[in-house]
Symmetry: C2
Subunit: 220 residues, 2 copies
């Protein structure tokens, strides 16, 4: 019985790691769809999001089963409770990747972003994939130094987000209001994606150290 | 002991209702600060958000205590688990109200929105306050018909959100790119606020009926 219990807890961790990996691939593909105006890839990302929602449901049921049948206490209980919140954040990261892909679809066959911003969005995409992968590692290993690295990626994302604002607001912006809005919303999806990753890793810190959890405030 | 247990569960419900009320006031004041360019009111909303974060922490600790000491099962356990997710959504609604207030502060002493959009934002503010108040009622009463009303308010919000898009994208838009971006982001904060309320009420439906939970996808 004890072994089953530990297996169940490990399964929770494995599911969260799998979700992190999933959203890392989703944001990476969504970014490629955005940069290449690849409708097919965008549709794949959008369709895959349902699967992530199912994993989130299953995880919630697993948390309920573990709590009801095993009655965990102390750190284990905190882990089960935090898993629910982490799963919500990861599910939301999947939504945001799907939002990026939907923007590709909305503007297809045109590109959703002006050519001069390709590099910035490519960099945002790389930062987002990196935070998702590292989030999985932090969940698996509880390595708190790695959690610090995610906060630094998040700082990079905030910087890129502000850079994009200053580009679309500059007098040299020649792409009009619609493109400015597209860029602003897309940039915000990436910024929120990284914020949610920070929230997940802070939950891990919270479970591991017992320090109070504080959520990452999103940038304006 | 039994009475204490029920009191504890009721306290969870009471906290969630109080949080709903809190965010209803926050979004109502944030909207007023936006419409009147009232810096003082904006600062109050921003400062009050910390209090909401504290309630969220306390609620999490309460959920842990109830689970550890009382070992709830069945619907009670589902309620405790869902309370954590509802609290996260309500905390996020508070963040969004603070975002609106921060936009007021950023543009002060100017108005953050053009005069011609005052009515639309006033209507968004009323819809947002209404969903927050009704969310509290749904949590308190588990009245599923009322949950349906919240979905309808959310539809109103989505309509207003789309209306604002068409206004800022019309050739008649004369306020430039910065104002268009401000309006887009503000509109998105309101739209997300209502989405989170829908998510909270769907959690209540989930706890009450056992039907699978599905999160509300945000509008692009």
């Amino acid at each position: 019985m004890r072994e089953t219990y530990h297996e169940q807890l490990q399964q929770l961790v494995d599911d969260l790691v799998a979700m992190s990996h999933f959203v890392g691939i989703a944001i990476s593909r969504a970014t490629e769809s955005l940069l290449e105006a690849d409708l097919n890839l965008a549709e794949q990302v959008i369709a895959a999001d349902d699967e992530l929602n199912s994993i989130d449901h299953q995880l919630e049921e697993r948390c309920l089963d573990i709590s009801a049948l095993q009655q965990p206490v102390a750190t284990d209980l905190r882990m089960v409770m935090s898993a629910l919140r982490m799963s919500s954040s990861l599910e939301r990261m999947g939504d945001l990747a799907a939002h990026v892909a939907k923007q590709t679809r909305l503007r297809y066959p045109a590109h959703a972003i002006p050519d001069e911003l390709r590099d910035t969005f490519a960099e945002m995409g790389r930062a987002a994939s990196a935070v998702a992968e590292k989030t999985g590692e932090v969940i698996a290993t509880r390595d708190l130094e790695l959690a610090g690295e995610i906060e630094r990626h998040d700082d990079t994302m905030d910087r890129l987000h502000r850079e994009l604002f200053s580009i679309v607001l500059a007098p040299t912006w020649s792409h009009g209001v619609e493109a400015a809005i597209d860029v602003t919303l897309l940039s915000r999806y990436y910024e929120r994606f990284a914020d949610h990753a920070v929230n997940v890793t802070r939950q891990v810190v919270h479970v591991t150290t017992g320090e109070p959890y504080s959520s990452s405030p999103s940038q304006l």
